[in-house]
Symmetry: C2
Subunit: 318 residues, 2 copies
């Protein structure tokens, strides 16, 4: 009998990664290609089809492809549509899963990238033995995937887990979504950059970061500066962790999870972020939850991480 | 064949209500008795046993009792224990469900009162056709019961849904739980009373409420004053609704429910609370959720409401 595999797709605003993955998380073949998010959607479909044939061709006689799992921004699990995704010129509603189903003639399931990250941890990562947990992706924005009793929390319209848009303060920072004070305007790579600029305004202390303009400064620079002892960069991580920890205490009050797992660019700073986050969370945890929730870093990681998550989605839901 | 019924018990800090309820929510017999929360736990068990025999006796030959459902403060669903409940002198951990099981020789299931309220709405109330919703009980404190895909959200330790203790502001009002700024210190009968005292400090305007001391003032007086046009009382409801609406927008971002249902003493003021809450929630709702969530008042109500919820728990879980 042929080996059963699925196609996992991580669709990002810049690049798309696709890989053939078996039930144990072994990646048989992998390719990365330009998403062409600013061209027409059919251009993407053509590229995907070519890449699919190229990576699956050599294994044609050895594998049986069960289906396709996709992680992408703003995807509705129930319809498979991508809805109002920033950074894409594919229209208000893109029939992502239906169109790929038609193109590749395989069953397709899709959800947003944070949900995919959560499934990746549950099937192949640090949450393999867990029943109730949340994964937060701290990248350009903040996404969250929440697992209840080993099932993705989807909600009535397949849109649950928008923790990036819970409110930190009513009169807070302007968000892409049109609201003010959303969590992701503070806790994300973009958020910490905004915090650095606020602190350069508030403080008198010197900082290497004062030498960069807003376009130049990125998350890596801030993390490196903090590791080098720069006072503004260090305070920015403390500020970020404080806000994150407060909101994690809320998350725990809602869900009573056994763990919260952090992943994404902001976590490259590791303890710089983890320590203030843990302190802030512990300080605000409702007594009944104290000592019952672990704060962890993702164990999936690596170039294939999101493809593994997308594959996990296919294995779980097809 | 005998008619199948369950015993529903609503255990409160002052009174306990018990009733025999059939599958359609018909209450065959009902009694209320003093909980004796400040005496030993076995005293309660004796009373319960007597009441049980008294209400079930007349039906002995016509009914078959399937089991017992209990709603009580701070109950862990998985163990049936009541854990560190304020207002009770029954010890740190009270083996509520196990002891009642032994006393009445029936299967017993127990959870906290807000979860019971949510099941009551789902089985006998306004949420009969709903799959994903939350019920908030706005009484002395604030409880929440959250239903995901027609199942109670329980969490890893059976303690999920502690929305009363999400944080409104880090330096906020002192809470019974030892934290500061918990939602229930603002949004509850006790919360609105505290708000009235804050507004009497902040404002110069006259108010009938200035004639009452802190012990005298209760929720009914504040609601009546607001209905009569009292400026402090009216502002107190607006203030309360504003905070509640902001946190409901967060709840929607986490859970993507189809409805949020409010119940408890604070909701007797109806539109005084609902209108500012709805406005505040709408203003902070993440775009994808706009128009997708309804804010409703409980439809169960009446003297038997919590007993019906406890019966629903038994029907669902035994």
């Amino acid at each position: 009998m042929n080996q059963e595999v699925v196609l996992g797709i991580d669709l990002g605003g810049t690049n798309t990664k696709a890989g053939l993955v078996d039930k144990n998380g072994k990646v048989l073949a992998f390719e990365r290609f330009n998403t062409h998010a600013k061209e027409e959607f059919p251009i993407f479909l053509e590229h995907l089809s070519i890449v699919f044939n190229r990576i699956s061709g050599p294994f044609k006689d050895q594998i049986s492809i069960k289906g396709v799992g996709i992680g992408a921004p703003n995807v509705n699990f129930y319809t498979g549509n991508m809805e109002r995704a920033h950074n894409f010129s594919w229209g208000e509603i893109t029939p992502l899963a239906p169109a790929i189903h038609e193109k590749l003639n395989l069953p397709v399931v899709a959800t947003n990238d944070a949900n995919v990250a959560a499934l990746g941890e549950m099937v192949f990562g640090i949450a393999r033995e867990m029943k109730n947990f949340a994964v937060l992706t701290l990248g350009t924005g903040l996404g969250s995937g929440i697992v209840v009793d080993r099932k993705l929390l989807l909600g009535q319209d397949g849109l649950a887990g928008e923790m990036g848009h819970v409110n930190v303060r009513p009169d807070g920072r302007n968000c892409n979504c049109g609201l003010s004070g959303c969590l992701e305007t503070y806790v994300s790579v973009t958020g910490i950059k905004r915090t650095v600029f606020k602190l350069m305004a508030d403080r008198k202390v010197d900082s290497i970061l004062r030498g960069y303009n807003y376009h130049e400064l990125d998350g890596e620079m801030i993390a490196q500066a903090a590791l080098d002892g720069d006072p503004i960069a260090k305070e920015a991580f403390t500020y970020t962790g404080n806000i994150l920890g407060t909101k994690l205490a809320d998350l725990v009050a809602y869900f009573n999870p056994e763990a919260v797992i952090l992943t994404g660019g902001l976590t490259h700073a590791r303890d710089l972020l983890l320590v203030p986050t843990q302190e802030s969370m512990d300080a605000r945890l409702f007594p009944a939850f104290r000592g019952k929730v672990r704060l962890l870093l993702s164990s999936v990681g690596g170039a294939h991480d999101a493809v593994l998550g997308a594959a996990a989605l296919a294995w779980q839901h097809l």
